[in-house]
C-alpha cells in the first residue's frame, strides 16, 4: 500500500501486512457476524422486529438486565472509588494481597463464579442461612442477580481510578487545607472531580459488561419468566427453540440499548472533562 491521502508517509515497513491482518481477522471474527445479526434484522423489517420484541416477557427481561446492571454498576462505582483510595493512600496488613485479589473476577470464569455464589447464598448455603433469619433471600431473587453483577463488575472502577490517585499531587490537597477547607470539603470539591472522568470510564466498562453478563447470573437468578429472567437467557431459550428471528430481535434490541447507553456515558464524560479542564 503506497503512502496516499489515506495515510501519511512513514519510513517503517509492514503497514500493508499488519493492516491486512487486522482487517481480515476483525472482519471474520467481529464485523461479519455483527453484520449478519443486523442484516437479519433488516430482512425481518422494523415493524415485525418491534412486534417480536414487544411482549411483556421480553420487556421485563430487558428492563431487568439493564436495571440490575445499573444498580450493580452504581454500587461498584462508589465502592470502587473508596477501595482504590484505601489501596493507594493507606498502609495496612494484607494490602498487597487485596490489591492482587481485586482482579479475581477478571480471572475467575463466570460459570465458576455463578455456581459458587449460588452455593453460598442458596437457602442451605453458609451466607444464605445467615441471612434467612433477617428475612433476606438472595438466591433465586433479583437480589442474587445484583450480587453476581457486583462480583463481575468489581475490578473496573478500581483499576481505572487507582492510577489517577497514584498520580494525584498532594500539594493541591495541602493548598486546599491551608486555605481553610475541611478534609471532607477537600475530598468532595478537589479530589473527587479529578477522579470523575476515570471513574466514569470504569463505570461504563462495568455497565457494558454487566448488561450482557450470562454465566454468573443464570445459576443464581432462578430464571422465573417476567421476574428473574435476564435478556441474554431469553436469547438462549429462543435459539434452543430454533426461533432465530426472535433471538435476533432480542439481540438487536440489546445492542441498540447498550450503544445508546455507552454514547450517553461518553457525552457525560466529554462534558465532565471539559468542566474540570482535562483533555
Amino acid at each position: 500500500m503506497r503512502a496516499s491521502i489515506f495515510r501519511s508517509p512513514s519510513p517503517l515497513p509492514g503497514f500493508g501486512l499488519s493492516f491486512g491482518i487486522v482487517m481480515t481477522v476483525l472482519s471474520i471474527v467481529v464485523l461479519l457476524p455483527i453484520g449478519a445479526l443486523l442484516g437479519r434484522g433488516l430482512m425481518i423489517g422494523p415493524g415485525d422486529l418491534w412486534g417480536m420484541v414487544n411482549s411483556r416477557r421480553i420487556w421485563s427481561a430487558l428492563s431487568l438486565s439493564f436495571r440490575a446492571a445499573l444498580i450493580a454498576s452504581v454500587f461498584n462505582l462508589v465502592f470502587g472509588i473508596v477501595l482504590a483510595w484505601v489501596l493507594v493512600r493507606y498502609r495496612f496488613w494484607g494490602r498487597r494481597l487485596v490489591d492482587a485479589a481485586v482482579d479475581l473476577p477478571f480471572a475467575l470464569p463466570t460459570a465458576v463464579a455463578g455456581i459458587s455464589l449460588t452455593a453460598l447464598y442458596a437457602p442451605n448455603g453458609v451466607l444464605g442461612q445467615a441471612l434467612a433469619p433477617l428475612g433476606i433471600k438472595v438466591a433465586y431473587t433479583e437480589l442474587g442477580i445484583w450480587m453476581a453483577l457486583v462480583f463481575i463488575g468489581l475490578p473496573f472502577v478500581v483499576r481505572t481510578v487507582q492510577p489517577v490517585i497514584e498520580e494525584l499531587d498532594r500539594e493541591v490537597e495541602e493548598v486546599s487545607a491551608t486555605l481553610g477547607a475541611r478534609r471532607a470539603y477537600t475530598l468532595r470539591r478537589v479530589v473527587l472531580p479529578t477522579l470523575a472522568p476515570a471513574a466514569l470510564t470504569g463505570f461504563a466498562l462495568a455497565l457494558a459488561r454487566s448488561v450482557g453478563e450470562y454465566g454468573s447470573v443464570i445459576f443464581i437468578a432462578g430464571n422465573i419468566p417476567n421476574l428473574t429472567e435476564i435478556a441474554p437467557l431469553l436469547i438462549v431459550i429462543r435459539l434452543e427453540e430454533y426461533n432465530y428471528d426472535a433471538a435476533a430481535a432480542i439481540g438487536i434490541a440489546m445492542l441498540l440499548i447498550s450503544f445508546a447507553m455507552l454514547l450517553a456515558i461518553n457525552l457525560i464524560q466529554v462534558w465532565s472533562r471539559r468542566r474540570i479542564g482535562l483533555v
Binding site: 515497513p13 485479589a101 482482579d103 478534609r183 450470562y214 436469547i235
Partner: protein
C-alpha cells in the same frame, strides 16, 4: 484546642484516624464477603466428599474430554489473538492513517457486546440457514455446533485483550528506535524481532495471560455456538453447567476448582509481572 502544636504536613492530606480505620475495616469486610467467600466456596464444595471423590470426578471421561477441549481451544485462539494484537498495535502505533480512532473503537467493540449476542451473531453468519452457512455445509465445513465455532466465539470475546495492552506501551516507546534500526540497515522483520519485540515482551505476556484466562473460562458465547454436544463440544465451563444441572455437585465444583486454580495462577503471575516490570506496564494503566 488552646495550645497550637506542630501539625505534620501529612495530617492535612489524610483522613482522621477513626475514618481511616472505618474505611479500611469496611472495604476489607466487603472484599472478604464479595471476593474471598466465593473463591473459598468453590474449593469447599469440591472437597466436600474428600479428595478421592473430587479426583475421581476429574478422571471421568466427560471431565477429561472437557479439559482436553478447553486446552486445545485456548492453544489455538490465544496465539491467533496474540498475532492479531501485535499486528493491530503495529499498524496503529507506527503509522498515521485516516480512521484510526474508528479502528480502535471497532477493536474494542466486543467489550460492549454480550457474549450471548456474540454467539448468536456467529450462529446467524455461519449457521445452516444463512447463505454462507449453506455453502460451508455443502463443502463439508461445519462451524456452528463444532470445534471451529468454539474457537471463533472464544476469539470474539477475547478480541481486544492483547491489542489493548500493547497499544499504550508502543505509543510511549515511539518510532525512533525502529527507524534507527532501519537506517543502520536492518530489515523490517529484523527491526521488529530485535527492537520492538524485546521492548513489548512483558506487556505482550501480560495481555496473553489475561486473554488466556478469559479464553479458558468463556461460557456465554460458547454455550450458544457449541450446541453442548456431550464429549464433543463441551468445554470445561459448559461441562460445569451440565454437571451442576444434573445435581453432580462434587463433579461440577471439582472442575470449577481446576479453573479457580488457573485463575489463582493467572493472578499470581500477573502480580509478579506488575511488580517486576512496573515501568513498562505503567503505560497500560495510564491509558
Amino acid at each position: 484546642m488552646s495550645d497550637i502544636t506542630f501539625i505534620r504536613a501529612e495530617s492535612v492530606t489524610t483522613e482522621p484516624r477513626l475514618a481511616r480505620g472505618l474505611l479500611i475495616g469496611g472495604t476489607m469486610a466487603l472484599i472478604a464477603v464479595l471476593l474471598f467467600a466465593p473463591l473459598i466456596a468453590v474449593f469447599a464444595e469440591a472437597l466436600r466428599d474428600g479428595w478421592a471423590a473430587s479426583l475421581d470426578a476429574l478422571a471421568s471421561p466427560d471431565a477429561r474430554s472437557a479439559i482436553r477441549l478447553t486446552l486445545i481451544v485456548a492453544a489455538i485462539a490465544v496465539p491467533l489473538n496474540a498475532v492479531f494484537g501485535i499486528a493491530a498495535a503495529w499498524a496503529i502505533t507506527k503509522f498515521d492513517f485516516r480512521g484510526k480512532a474508528f479502528l480502535i473503537t471497532l477493536i474494542d467493540l466486543p467489550f460492549s457486546v454480550s457474549p450471548v449476542v456474540a454467539g448468536l451473531a456467529l450462529v446467524l453468519l455461519f449457521g445452516v440457514n444463512s447463505s454462507l452457512g449453506g455453502w460451508l455445509v455443502a463443502n463439508d465445513l461445519k462451524i456452528v455446533f463444532a470445534f471451529p465455532g468454539i474457537v471463533l466465539a472464544t476469539m470474539f470475546v477475547t478480541f481486544p485483550f492483547v491489542a489493548r495492552e500493547l497499544i499504550p506501551v508502543m505509543i510511549e516507546q515511539g518510532r525512533a528506535e525502529e527507524e534507527a534500526a532501519l537506517t543502520l540497515g536492518a530489515s523490517g522483520w529484523r527491526a521488529f524481532f530485535t527492537v520492538t519485540l524485546p521492548n513489548i515482551r512483558w506487556a505482550l505476556l501480560y495481555g496473553v495471560l489475561l486473554c488466556n484466562a478469559r479464553a479458558m473460562g468463556e461460557f456465554g458465547a460458547v454455550a450458544v455456538i457449541s450446541g453442548k454436544i456431550r464429549g464433543e463440544t463441551t468445554t470445561m465451563p459448559i461441562m460445569i453447567e451440565m454437571f451442576y444441572n444434573e445435581y453432580l455437585s462434587v463433579a461440577a465444583f471439582s472442575l470449577a476448582g481446576v479453573l479457580a486454580l488457573l485463575a489463582l495462577v493467572t493472578l499470581t503471575l500477573k502480580s509478579l509481572l506488575e511488580w517486576r516490570h512496573a515501568d513498562v506496564l505503567a503505560a497500560t494503566r495510564r491509558h
